[in-house]
Amino acid sequence: MLKLEPRPQPSVWMAWLSPVLAVLLTMACGFALFIAVGKDPLASLAVFFLEPIKDMRGWSELGVKIAPLLLISVGLAIAFRANVFNIGAEGQLVAGAIAAGAFVLAFDESAEGGPWLIAFALAAGVCGGMLWAAIVAWLRDRYNANEILVSLMLVYVAQLLLSYLVHGALMDPDGFGFPQSRLFADGLLLPAVLPGTRLHLGAVLALLAAVAGWLYLARSFSGFKLQVGGIAPLAARYAGFSSRRSLWIAMLVSGGLAGLAGACEVMGPIGQLTPSISPGYGFAAIIVAFVGRLHPIGVIFSSFIMALLYIGGELSQSRLGMPSAITGIFQGILLFSLLACDVLVNNRLRWRK
């Protein structure tokens, strides 16, 4: 009989290599999958994993998708570690996009734009996301309302609010009645990091957020208090760490970063407010956060993989005629492989009579 036996000292090296192994395993499963449906496995895998990153343009498109995923998942990693299950990042993203979009639309006709106004617009996005998250934090703090339900429900409120605004107050008067705002002025769009591509400042902000998030969790006392509150609430109470404070920090940080992601989306690749500004980044970031083990540096890796799977999935639909479910299948295989690798890093298999 095979038995799992905990390793006394799990290898630190293997813990870091486990996601890499998981990706290799995912490729191996994909290989078998493509053979089973009668496609050339090598060529198909190439479409999935190499095509998106074969040139600079591909990398930049990947970066465009990584930016919101990474921004949000860094915030969620912090919140989840505090045992605050904010699963409404999608709504906070939308709220941030509305706030930033409204700010831009209010100023871009009279002003030239420039770095200061862009910074203020991004700050407005952060505030929008924080405000949306603050509703959740307040209801939890004051009435002990479940933050999972409240934050999820507020996603739909935010989406409907956006829809209402682009059908009304923020609609382009010269837009033939289409439900969208006018295009933002160039001076208020995020500058491109690589000239000639769509890769914008948001990707840089996301990387900075990851490093800052890591410093916060690993080095700061506030981050320590937050994590103790998440792992051992009684110990946090014993130590005198305020659980209310942790709740507010977790919600505001994750909401603020999601709002920033929304602001970057509308001021970057989209360039206006439309009824649907996110293909579910806020929800995908939940998976990204867990695959990255709630580690702000780990989520850089997992948001890269998630972005790759999104683009590879789109390409394999057009090039290989695969169904759209292929993205979900690969994401699922990746998640399982990673969990399996983690189990074997922390345990060893023993053959027993």
Binding site: E5, P6, R7, P8, R219, S220, F221, S222, F224, V228, I231, A232, L234, A235, R237, Y238, A239, G240, F241, S242
Partner: protein
């Protein structure tokens, strides 16, 4: 001669340690057999092997004369083996009756089970409400659940792991009567304890373990405590010297502390008065569940509902102040639960320092000074002889006694003005317990006001300068330890201190 249980050459290796190394053990029908040993000597592993929780790597187990491998606890129960674990295996969110039902065949009727529980509890004098949720129970009450659960199975062999620490002296005698009665009925008992006097009073045979091996087999009735102790640790525990108290000013003052219940099964605190002076140890005796948890939470600041004026710390009213606020002003606290409250199991010892050391020594500009906490943890490990891999070892990797030494060391290192300690030596072996008591005395001599809440009366008599008793949420008048005796404290533990004769005795004390 027939035997109930025979172990031959039982060996169990863990990745880092050999927990049992060729252990032989013979238990006769109707025999009360003690297993004595320090923490980490392998007692718990051996009991888990007998109960089918852990499989041995080598060796054989004979049940009533036949070789019988025990695959799991259900198989052990079918054979007639009952076990009361030291670390309880209870689900917090279920009631007492539901927890007990989990170990029984499916389809049992809850009403009927509740009646059986009540009957068994009554028969053995164990006060227990079947419908209470386990998370509302104190450690002592949880142990009663385990004892009743084991007795319901009508066992042929009952394993008890440190069972008396939660009982009043009178109740210990009652339990002993119960155990002797069970033994007379033919039930064998494996009695794990570090209390040498109990083993000598109760047990017919004793197997002593040291470092995973059998250090000796003897008849405890023919041994002295010193000889048993030598067999167990290879030396006699250091004696604690007693000292006339020279109490200083009042550091912790409680006046008219009343607290309503925080949940339906909590104990209400009513008009509690006492003082703790600098340079004295005040012992709080009482069976757990009489308000210990509530009193400690109100004193530590984990519960901030008290009247501001009800608690004074060094002359400052603190009833509504947070735990962090009180800590910054010289309060230190060692809680009853070490893992999960006194320490975070997953974090390293160094990081666990931060639970109570939150000053400029460990934190600078909001950032944790990592080298400082490693040095601090290293010093505590060294000074308190904590068996740990080092400052980076996870708190969960330490045995109960070693973690307790670390936590007490951590609090002592803060040089507190007032120290609150709950169950300082609960589940801790003799050597470590003596060391912990010596540390508490040293802290007292350094001028700290120490409040010790314990269910072990021996311990309280040994280290306290004065005693109070907590019963049903009320606190008795204080009495000097030298004037108190077991009989009096035992009566007070039932809440009887208001009668005229008792009052006279206290007045004599104050005179």
């Amino acid at each position: 001669m027939s035997t109930r249980l025979v172990l031959k050459g039982i060996t169990k290796r863990y990745p880092a340690i050999v927990a049992n190394d060729g252990i032989d053990l013979t238990v006769l029908p109707g025999q009360i057999h003690a297993v004595l040993g320090e923490n980490g000597a392998g007692k718990s592993t051996l009991m888990k092997i007998i109960y089918g929780v852990v499989k041995p790597d080598a060796g054989a187990l004979y049940w009533n004369g036949e070789e019988t491998p025990i695959a799991n606890p259900a198989a052990a129960r079918r054979l007639g083996i009952g076990m009361v674990f030291q670390h309880f295996s209870l689900f917090d969110t279920l009631t007492v009756a539901e927890n007990i039902a989990l170990g029984l065949p499916a389809g049992i009727r809850m009403v009927e089970l509740e009646q059986r529980i009540a009957a068994t509890a009554r028969e053995y004098g164990l006060d227990l409400e079947a419908r209470r949720h386990v998370h509302t129970l104190s450690v002592g009450e949880r142990q009663r659940v385990e004892i009743v659960r084991a007795l319901l199975g009508k066992p042929q062999l009952l394993i008890l792991d440190e069972p008396t620490s939660v009982l009043t002296p009178q109740a210990v005698l009652g339990l002993f009567d119960t155990l002797r009665k069970l033994a007379a009925e033919g039930c064998s008992i494996l009695y794990i304890s570090h209390k040498l006097d109990e083993i000598r009073a109760l047990c017919h045979a004793c197997t002593v373990l040291r470092a995973g091996r059998v250090a000796g087999v003897c008849d405890p009735r023919e041994e002295t405590e010193a000889s048993l102790s030598r067999m167990m640790i290879g030396a006699e525990p250091p004696a604690v010297e007693h000292r006339q108290p020279s109490a200083g000013r009042v550091m912790l003052s409680v006046r008219g502390l009343s607290l309503p219940k925080a949940h339906p099964f909590a104990t209400e605190l009513a008009r509690i008065d006492f003082d703790v002076h600098a340079g004295e140890i005040l012992g709080v005796a009482g069976v757990s569940g009489n308000g210990q948890q509530e009193l400690l939470a109100a004193l530590s600041g984990e519960d901030m509902r008290a009247d501001p004026q009800a608690i004074h710390l060094d002359g400052v009213p603190v009833g509504r102040r947070s735990a962090a606020w009180r800590r910054a002003r010289g309060l230190a606290f060692v809680p009853e639960e070490r893992l999960g409250r006194g320490a975070v199991p997953e974090l390293s010892l160094a990081r666990n320092i931060l639970l109570s050391h939150q000053g400029s020594g460990t934190i600078r500009r909001g950032l944790v000074r990592r080298s400082a906490i490693h040095v601090l943890a290293g010093n505590i490990i060294q000074r308190f002889r904590v068996k740990a891999a080092g400052p980076r070892a996870a708190a969960a990797s330490l045995s109960g006694g070693n973690l307790q030494k670390f936590i007490i060391g951590r609090e002592v290192a803060r040089r507190p003005k007032v120290l609150l300690v709950a169950q300082p030596t609960w589940g801790v072996d003799v050597g470590a317990a003596a060391q912990i008591r010596a540390e508490l005395l040293a802290l007292r001599d350094a001028g700290c006001a120490v409040l010790v809440i314990s269910e072990e009366l021996d311990e309280l008599f040994e280290i306290s300068d004065r005693l109070v008793v907590l019963a049903r949420g009320r606190v008795s008048p204080a009495i000097e330890t030298s004037r108190a005796d077991l009989d009096l404290i035992g009566r007070w533990m039932s809440g009887l201190w208001d009668s005229p004769s008792e009052t006279r005795r206290v007045e004599q004390t104050h005179a």
